[in-house]
Point group: C2
Chain length 327, copies 2
Amino acid sequence: MAAPLSEFEMIARLFAPIAGEGALGLIDDAAMFQPCPGYDLVLSVDALVENVHFFAQDPPGSIARKTLRVNLSDLAAKGARPRGFLLSLGRGPRQDDDWMAEFAAGLAADSRACAMPLLGGDTVRTNQAFFSVTVFGEVPAGRMVKRQGGATGDFLYVSGTIGDAALGLQLRLRPDAAWAVALLPAHRDFLLDRYLQPQPRLVLAEALHIHASAGMDISDGLVGDANKLAVHLGHRVEIEAVPLSPAARAAIALDPALLETILTGGDDYEILAAIPPARVSDFEAACRVANVPVTRIGVLSGAGDAKIWLDPTGKQAHFSQNSYRHF
Amino acid sequence: MAAPLSEFEMIARLFAPIAGEGALGLIDDAAMFQPCPGYDLVLSVDALVENVHFFAQDPPGSIARKTLRVNLSDLAAKGARPRGFLLSLGRGPRQDDDWMAEFAAGLAADSRACAMPLLGGDTVRTNQAFFSVTVFGEVPAGRMVKRQGGATGDFLYVSGTIGDAALGLQLRLRPDAAWAVALLPAHRDFLLDRYLQPQPRLVLAEALHIHASAGMDISDGLVGDANKLAVHLGHRVEIEAVPLSPAARAAIALDPALLETILTGGDDYEILAAIPPARVSDFEAACRVANVPVTRIGVLSGAGDAKIWLDPTGKQAHFSQNSYRHF
């Protein structure tokens, strides 16, 4: 049996191949980055913790990709193109060399796919593994899409379908629930995969910085996140307009109470954006070109802090839990 | 007794006051940063873990400052001026609201002192606290001081004094050692403080990017770090030239074996730099202006991978442990 890799060997073998030019081979104390003139930088950091944000027994490559993708999703929502990332890695007792090799392979695949090199990092020992990624991207100067940039009358759009990942998580936590057992295997696999592998909407970044007045990624549940985006202006959202996958529709048919899980559950990593009426047709056209479905679900109402969720009968819906909270 | 702060309240009360303009009040998903034209960015990330890099019972403000300072030390060594930082924070069971308030106060003090605002972050729950800071700074384009930029004949300099923090750590780990008990209280306090509160040499950044051919901060022990800086060129260092504090000299007088701890122990956060002979007098003058003592300890020898540590008798010294390793 081979001796375990030292920190230096691990960096050289597993991470140096993912490193970009400015990383200086990951043997320096810092990375160098030359910003493009005329662009602002967009920076985001998100950490995933073992048994909090992922299951210890998940495939290491999936954990690596999720760690990167939750950050890429932030960049996409802000209209930014990824340029690089730094990784702060806490290795726990489960993260042996084989585990780390699979983790690095997952990281490498997504890093290549996004042309986003690793620029630097730090590795430490801990009892509970964590992976903290700092991503940075670029957006034309002054064009970063802010969370609260919208105006009264702007329409609210979401990308893709909502709630799949939240249902996927429920399938992990309570596989014996009646609806979980009754669900078609294909639907179950789809929902599980949506939880495990977010698909950040990077191809929408340009459409967003050109057309959106406000935007964010949906990570803590549509209800809580839409309420944040509309915190000052208020909104009116039609629940029936919220786009659902066939798998999510099948789940609701089996257990109508799952609608609340879908709307408040989190981990969607879809885009929520406000689009001014004059921009709607160009935005929709740009999304068609990018081949990402987007759906209009409501409007920024201008009614102060009133966040109205209308059910199909036109009555106002209330939720027992607005959104997922880490604390 | 007041209810514990939610994540959102904690961010609003404790961290938003430290936030800079580009942080958008810490209510957005990402931060925005406008780079200065004609400058490169320098990026570094370092994580500190409870009971690995700091003692759980250390004052939270000290832990906050150390977390920032180990990163600032990297920027200083690269010749960069700090511009901002992001914090990824894993809160353990010990980190209650009072603890977090003290932590934030320490962070705020150093953030103000360095004119380096908080730009973003993430807070998660974990069993073992961690604090991962990503700093970024700016250096005139093309002037970042690299670790392996030196040439044969360049002189090796260190700032300040070496080994104080390593002795401070030993005082924490083995307070009953004979030398620890015999040490003057003032010397003991000095060494303990040097371990707890690194003093990053930010005021040397300009002198370094103007004059140094290579540089790094000394974090893993002078011996290991100098051997890294000289990995391809080789070096010859005179151990007697290594600058020691009166406290460190007193410790060695009590226990000569501590010299190895001093040279290999780590946590110095002083600068190690290579200065071409033609630059020596201007570099020394710039350091005098900055009011930071620097000492010439050796030379890049050009002798391939030979790393020579000469003891006072002119014999080559060997060390049982080259440097601190995290793994």
